[in-house]
Symmetry: C2
Subunit: 349 residues, 2 copies
DNA sequence: TTGTATGCGTTATCAC
DNA sequence: GTGATAACGCATACAA
């Protein structure tokens, strides 16, 4: 609910923006005709259409979306709630979402709350008030009120970066399979003792799932994972740097480390370089690749590559189909790809 | 203009969302009273207020923003057009903008076009149709039609990441001063021959200004800049990697390289490490710091630090002041700070 | 093909 | 303090 305190920029400005009626007057037709000229050009005669269009052009007419939304009961706007937006790979995803929605005339209304506001149901409410036709969410880990509100307002929605949910359609990749690829690769190289640099799992289902997938795969391969070899930290270059320093300080006898993302891994590699630990001669490092610079660290990182942009694009397609009333598109888990690079090698000794 | 082809999700759904009238009926009051209960609680008697609020709660009432925008002639929405969003430091800036606007109840309507759509006046038109009360732009390098439309619709606007413009208020930092700090630092270390890894200047005023500032400072210090020592490339880790390889291949006798941002610099450092060039023993590297991981590369980068988030926050303040009808806030160029780290050192030999 | 009339859900201006 | 009532600007069903 917007505050009532603010004062309007031009409360009672004499010259307001041109309306349909203004255009109609100038063109010498009725308002209805102008409306049709703009939205169903083929319903008009060539002559009046060009006359109306010229008038609209001359007045610099821009439709009033609020009035249109009110009349049509739809806004051609899609809301997205993406917390912790500024420090992540999400912008890429969101841009892809935006591009896909734009193909059918939809505009993205982005809610990019800071962490603390991340799960505030008021965010969705704000979006609904804005009249969004559909909503894209990050993950399925939402307050029940969110799904209730979505259902009450009959708004199609999709959960991005999520595998499955009883609540509705999800777009994501198979985290467990991705982690398993990483672990299998390391196991194949002979590594038995593996460390993990995990993203912070508090209040973050995605980080939790990623960590679970890794530990499960490690167990499946009969490898060892000392809890002292798992460092959990916020995502980021700096955090990866510190986390690796922490891991080194603990002197756990791991021969390989898996990082939950390439920001972390980049920082970790820097810490290793600074500490004089040779990669992969003394320690192998592998990582999930969220941000596409894994290939350009030194040494280049072995990663599982995740199609981030594709999540946004696919999420857009899911929503568009729902908005059209079409059957939902094929929506499989997106495949993650193992890319072996120089940062992993055989066990030392 | 949205396409007319799409069909509504629930064209004539029997149970539509609760409206003011519904709440009024349930509470046994008039619609006007409900409106007041929601937006000016103090104008009502304690009794009716609680009754109305309870009714609204029970019906899960959410205001219709389109109707409100139509009646109030304002939407409490601010538009932002930020091209090339996915691969940059802009998300940080946008999140700060969003946070600042949220303090006064405004929502951000983000237009994040790909490069090719970046200067399309249709983007602004879409935002205006959506009824935004104000607009944040990236840079002053906009088609004239943009400023004309903004003026015609009397929409306050601000240009982010921009120093000065006759068109309106700008928020940015002093690129030339920042570059000068970098060059002065290198000159002080004895470097005479300097190379530059620039962002792509085609169609990018910010990259151009950054490059100009650097070359001017280099000239001022009487240093040498061979044109062969300037490599221009898209921003990104991968691009920095390739650009540095290119620079090395050219065998220009530079002793220091300045990178236009830390993504580029990170890639460049990786290329140097891979090529066996010691930093800074054989080559010094310094950089603009857009993304805050300069401290964690190996070696850590000497940078000028740019307060990216502050741009968004300040831009938000400028807009809010204009929306309030207040005088514009003090809006000085944001200061850039030189941070000397291990990647720069004296001239070899 | 075009004009007319009505409704969309709020806010705001009056009366009471 | 509260209830009618008139905009707000557009889309659309229906009439012409």
């Amino acid at each position: 609910m917007p505050p009532r305190s603010a004062t309007a920029p031009d409360p009672a400005d004499a010259s307001r923006a041109a309306s349909l009626a203004d255009v109609a007057a100038l063109a010498g037709v009725s308002a209805g005709t102008v409306s049709r000229a703009l939205t169903r050009p083929d319903m008009l005669s060539e002559a009046t259409r060009t006359r109306v269009l010229a008038a609209a052009e001359r007045l610099g007419y821009v439709a009033n979306g609020a009035a249109r939304a009110l009349a049509m009961r739809r806004s051609f706007t899609v809301g997205a709630i993406v917390p912790r937006f500024g420090r992540s790979s999400f912008p890429t995803m969101v841009q892809a979402l935006e591009a896909t929605l734009a193909t059918e005339g939809y505009t993205l209304l982005l809610s990019a709350p800071e962490r603390t506001r991340g799960h505030d149901p008021a965010l969705l409410r704000a979006l609904l008030e804005r009249g969004v036709d559909a909503v894209a969410l990050l993950g399925a880990d939402q307050p029940p009120a969110v799904f209730a509100a979505l259902a009450a307002h009959r708004r199609p929605f999709v959960m991005m970066w999520e595998e499955h949910s009883a609540e509705g359609p999800c777009v994501g990749f198979d985290e467990a399979a991705a982690g398993a690829q990483l672990v299998a690769h390391l196991a194949g190289l002979g590594h038995r003792r593996i460390g993990i640099l995990s993203g912070s799992t508090v209040d973050n289902e995605r980080a939790q799932r990623r960590l679970r997938g890794l530990t499960a795969a490690i167990a499946r391969h009969g490898l060892q994972l000392h809890h002292a070899a798992v460092v959990e930290t916020e995502t980021g270059f700096a955090q990866g740097f510190a986390a690796m320093q922490e891991l080194l300080a603990r002197r756990t006898p791991v021969t390989a480390v898996v990082c939950a993302n390439d920001y972390l891994a980049g920082g970790a590699l820097s810490a290793l370089a600074q500490a004089g630990v040779a990669v992969p001669a003394q320690l192998s490092v592998a990582s999930f690749n969220d941000n596409d610079f894994a290939a350009f660290t030194h040494p280049p990182l072995t990663t599982v590559h995740l199609p981030i942009e594709e999540i946004g694009a696919q999420a857009g397609r899911v929503l568009l189909a729902a908005l059209r009333g079409d059957a939902p598109p094929d929506n499989p888990l997106l495949p993650a790809t193992l890319v072996v690079r120089a940062s992993t090698g055989p066990v030392p000794g």
